[in-house]
């Protein structure tokens, strides 16, 4: 806990071992952030990335969970293999993604070209790089959610489905009125955790875009790392760390409130 409070303390100082300064400037670091385009860019992308990635991951994970819940040959092997993206280091996935999205020699570039006759360099434009980062993240972490959701699906008693069938609800209707409401608490819980981890993501942008082009894909943790350990502005870095902590706190509180609401509605 001590380092945590020390971060708060440090965030009110201009502190840099490089210039050997240690000067109290109150909220100066925080006010400086408002004018720092790199930071405002970072915040924007952190929000966009977290939102987009979590929503896509939940959808992707949910579809995989449904597929793996069906009966077919080789299901157990597939259930094991789906863990592979989860088990690999993000730094490997991110570095490989640099090539995966290469317009000429990357697999994604190649497929786009074969199917739609498009050659598109994702990583040189801000939007393209943002899309690439989000896709890579969804690909890597979606299967993890799928495994959790699969567990949730298997926890729904089969009697409920039979009862629904008697009432004439099958297929889509039983999904909409039975499965989904029962899964909502789990989806919310996992969304909270996933969001928090997205805000803290570091490896992915370090490997894939280095926050670029410019600062289009820089995330909070990456900014903290740059300020503190590249530019050696410990004070400013600490202030950024405090901001990301506050962000996480907000997400957690909103999530818990949503969860409470969902539970009361369910019962």
């Amino acid at each position: 806990m001590y380092p945590f409070f020390y971060t708060f303390y440090l965030s009110c100082f201009e502190c840099s071992p490089l210039h050997r300064t240690f000067r109290f400037i109150g909220l100066g670091n925080y006010l400086g952030m408002l004018k720092d385009k790199a930071v405002t860019d970072t915040l924007t992308f952190t929000f966009m990335f977290t939102g987009a990635s979590v929503i896509l991951q939940v959808c992707y994970g949910m579809s995989i969970a449904f597929l793996l819940n069906l009966r077919f040959r080789g299901r157990n092997i597939l259930r094991a293999a789906v863990l592979l993206p989860w088990a690999m280091p993000m730094i490997v996935a991110g570095t490989a993604a640099v090539w995966f999205f290469h317009p000429d020699f990357g697999m994604f570039g190649d497929i786009l070209w074969r199917l739609f006759d498009i050659r598109h360099a994702f990583l040189i434009s801000g939007t393209g790089a943002r899309v690439a980062v989000t896709f890579t993240d969804v690909w890597k972490n979606g299967p993890f959610l799928a495994i959790i959701f699969l567990g949730g699906l298997q926890g729904i008693p089969i009697e409920l489905y039979e009862a629904a069938k008697v009432d004439g609800a099958t297929g889509l209707r039983s999904f909409w009125y039975l499965t989904l409401p029962l899964m909502v608490p789990l989806i919310i819980t996992m969304s909270i955790f996933t969001s928090i981890f997205r805000i803290l993501s570091f490896d992915i942008v370090y490997a894939l875009t280095q926050g670029g082009p410019g600062t289009a894909t820089s995330l909070m943790s990456y900014r903290v790392y740059l300020e503190a350990f590249r530019f050696l502005n410990f004070g400013y870095g600490s202030a950024l760390a405090v901001v990301s902590f506050v962000l996480i706190l907000i997400v957690a509180i909103i999530g818990l409130l949503l969860l409470k609401y969902a539970w009361t509605k369910l019962s």
């Binding site: 380092p3 945590f4 293999a81 592979l84 280091p89 993000m90 020699f105 803290l200 790392y225 503190a228």
Partner: protein, 287 residues
């Protein structure tokens, strides 16, 4: 006539469903595995086959030249050794600390025990970035930067909360009647733990061991900041080194082969212990 038509209709509907199901499965399998295949393929493809337009998805002469080059320039064996030592030791220490704590939380209720648990969880939820700068300064003063011990301390404290959390839910699954019965038979606490609890908990412990091991193996942020010297670097750092071999920046063939060498141990673990991993992840998520 009518009935036959109806049967046909049902069969056709069934068939459509089956086809759709397998179509989606195929789509999903290709989304998940195509990138993995691409990495493995590139690691074995000779250079002149790698950079062709259009891309080739099969190789005629698989080669080990990229592996050799990476092996000769990146101190792979030392990094693997560091990573293994760190992962195994940190996992062991985490379990030694977390299991008794979790057992206490699951079984002994004393005033404030709930508060203590919540405090532990809250401190574990603290994001790494919020503490990393002071930790760096402290470690500098203590001369713990560039040491495996220093990294180990960070690894252990980083995963402790998660491990306690999951372990509590495992302990709660052990029926309390079992322990009561053993007590009546005159077992001491030590006997109880060694003879009853530990054997029952074996699968749970294995689960926690594997998940922690994989998380530690993949750790990148902490070594990036706290391991500046080659003697303590980990394999994940080796990836970025492999990217800068020779004259080409980000030489894909080197990255791919290094990636394969990093990934294979965790892949094997994930495949072999799939059941345990899933169990552990779900215990962590639900409770």
């Amino acid at each position: 006539m009518d009935i036959r038509y109806l049967k046909q209709l049902i069969r056709r509907k069934h068939l459509v469903r089956l086809v759709l199901q397998y179509l989606f499965l195929a789509l999903f399998v290709s989304i998940v595995f195509a990138p993995l295949y691409y990495i493995f393929l590139s690691a074995f493809q000779p250079r002149e086959e790698l950079f062709t337009i259009p891309l080739r998805y099969l190789t005629r002469q698989p080669t080990l030249e990229h592996f050799k080059r990476v092996f000769n320039t990146v101190p792979y064996l030392r990094y693997i050794k560091n990573t293994t030592i760190l992962s195994v030791c940190s996992t062991a220490v985490v379990l030694i600390v977390a299991l008794p704590a979790a057992y206490a939380f699951a079984r002994i209720h004393f005033p404030g025990s709930y508060l203590l648990l919540m405090g532990l969880l809250a401190s574990g939820m603290l994001p790494g970035v919020a503490t990393i700068i002071p930790l760096f300064q402290i470690f500098q003063k203590l001369n713990l930067i560039n040491t495996l011990q220093g990294l180990g301390i960070l690894y252990v404290s980083g995963n402790l909360t998660f491990t306690v959390w999951v372990a509590i839910s495992f302990f709660k699954q052990v029926p309390i009647e079992l322990e009561e019965a053993a007590r009546i038979d005159g077992a001491s606490t030590a006997q109880l733990i060694i003879k009853i609890i530990l054997p029952i908990m074996k699968p749970g412990i294995a689960t926690l061991f594997i998940i922690n091991f994989i998380i530690y193996w993949n750790e990148f942020f902490l070594p990036l900041i706290f391991a500046r010297d080659a003697s303590v670097k980990t394999v994940t750092l080796g990836i970025s080194e492999a990217a800068y071999i020779g004259q080409y920046q980000q030489a894909w063939q080197n990255i791919a082969s290094m990636g394969v060498m990093v990934v294979i141990p965790v892949f094997l673990l994930a495949l072999f212990f799939q059941r345990q991993i899933v169990e552990g992840l779900m215990a962590g998520a639900f409770k």
